[in-house]
């Protein structure tokens, strides 16, 4: 995921802002990390460059 995309990303449940934590990144994008919604106390993982923004009940 590219950092620029943070501008328009939102929590899929409450549509509030997300806080980015980067664990690993390369020259192009964030490889591993998470997106945290303070309002829902929900953490959405970024794995292998792909943010998983499925609502909590649908993540398997």
């Amino acid at each position: 995921m590219k950092k620029e995309l943070m501008e328009i990303l939102a929590c899929p449940v409450c549509k509030g802002p997300l806080e980015l934590t980067v664990e690993e990144e390369d020259e192009r994008e964030i490889v591993k990390g998470s997106l945290y919604c303070g309002h829902c106390s929900e953490r959405y993982p970024i794995e292998d460059t792909i943010p998983n923004l499925l609502p909590p009940g649908l993540r398997t």
Binding site: I8, L9, V13, Y44, D48, I50, N52, L53, L54, L58
Partner: protein, 257 residues
């Protein structure tokens, strides 16, 4: 619709499309037509890597009707292997961006691999659900979608979310399957029919009504099925009496005053 049934449908759709992504085969029971009137042009397909051009699960060509302009932000609902995102990316150019959302991890991984192969910097994919879009309100110029919304158990939620994320005056340009006549209850109950784009489809009038009720204006639809039955069609022969492929356009109202 009961929540349990809605979840069961989503799970069935997810599993089915995960299998399709792994095998890179089509969702329709007959070999699919990708090129021709209402579908992709030869030029468009030639410019794509072979595995991308050959793996399309759509029933139209939404980027052809979307009149995309350079610099626009485009969202693809149910982006699959990414074909429509890649076509959109060429049209919006370096200053634009394209975001594909799909709820099936296998599809998102496939789309990301394809993006890398093509070296595109203005396309991104994420796992997400079209009923719960992970995007801010008023952030997108154009929403495209190709033969996906029919799969959603709650289409009202999909159109409501689409309206929310579009900027005022933003466009919705989708190709989808609608019913010409009602299906039997037996067909509707069959999960396999649902995942094959049939049981979840609505009659055209109802489908368009839902878009208008969500708050869209200038809702128009054009039949994308060929006039002659013998012509190549994205709709398999035995289903042509029941379903047709349509291109739908609508607009989010501009802020008044």
């Amino acid at each position: 619709m009961a929540k349990e049934r809605s979840q069961a449908i989503k799970q069935a759709v997810k599993e089915r499309y995960a299998t399709l992504a792994r095998r890179q085969t089509s969702c329709c029971p007959t070999p699919q037509i990708r090129e021709g009137e209402g579908m992709y042009s030869r030029k468009e397909l030639q410019d794509l890597p072979q595995n991308v051009a050959e793996f399309s699960l759509g029933c139209g060509n939404p980027t052809a009707i979307a009149e995309l302009r350079e610099g626009e932000t485009v969202l693809d609902l149910g982006s699959g292997g990414g074909i429509d995102c890649f076509l959109a990316a060429q049209k919006v150019g370096k200053k634009g961006r394209v975001i594909g959302v799909d709820m099936t991890p296998e599809m998102v991984f496939l789309a990301r691999e394809n993006t890398r192969k093509m070296g595109l910097a203005n396309v991104e994919f994420r796992l997400g659900e079209m009923e719960h879009l992970p995007l801010e309100a008023n952030s997108v110029d154009v929403i495209i979608s190709n033969c996906v919304i029919n799969l959603a158990p709650d289409k009202d939620a999909v159109f409501k979310e689409a309206l929310r994320v579009l900027k005022p005056g933003g466009r919705l340009c989708i190709s989808d399957i609608v019913l010409k006549r009602e299906l039997s209850l037996e067909v509707k109950e069959d999960m396999q029919q649902w995942t094959g784009c049939v049981a979840g489809a609505l009659k055209g009038k109802i489908y368009l009504g839902k878009i208008a009720r969500a708050g869209f204006v200038q809702v128009t639809a054009q039949d994308n099925s060929p006039r002659e039955k013998s012509e190549a069609s994205p709709v398999p022969g035995r289903l042509r009496d029941y379903i047709s492929s349509v291109n739908v356009s609508a607009r989010k109202p501009s802020v008044s005053g």
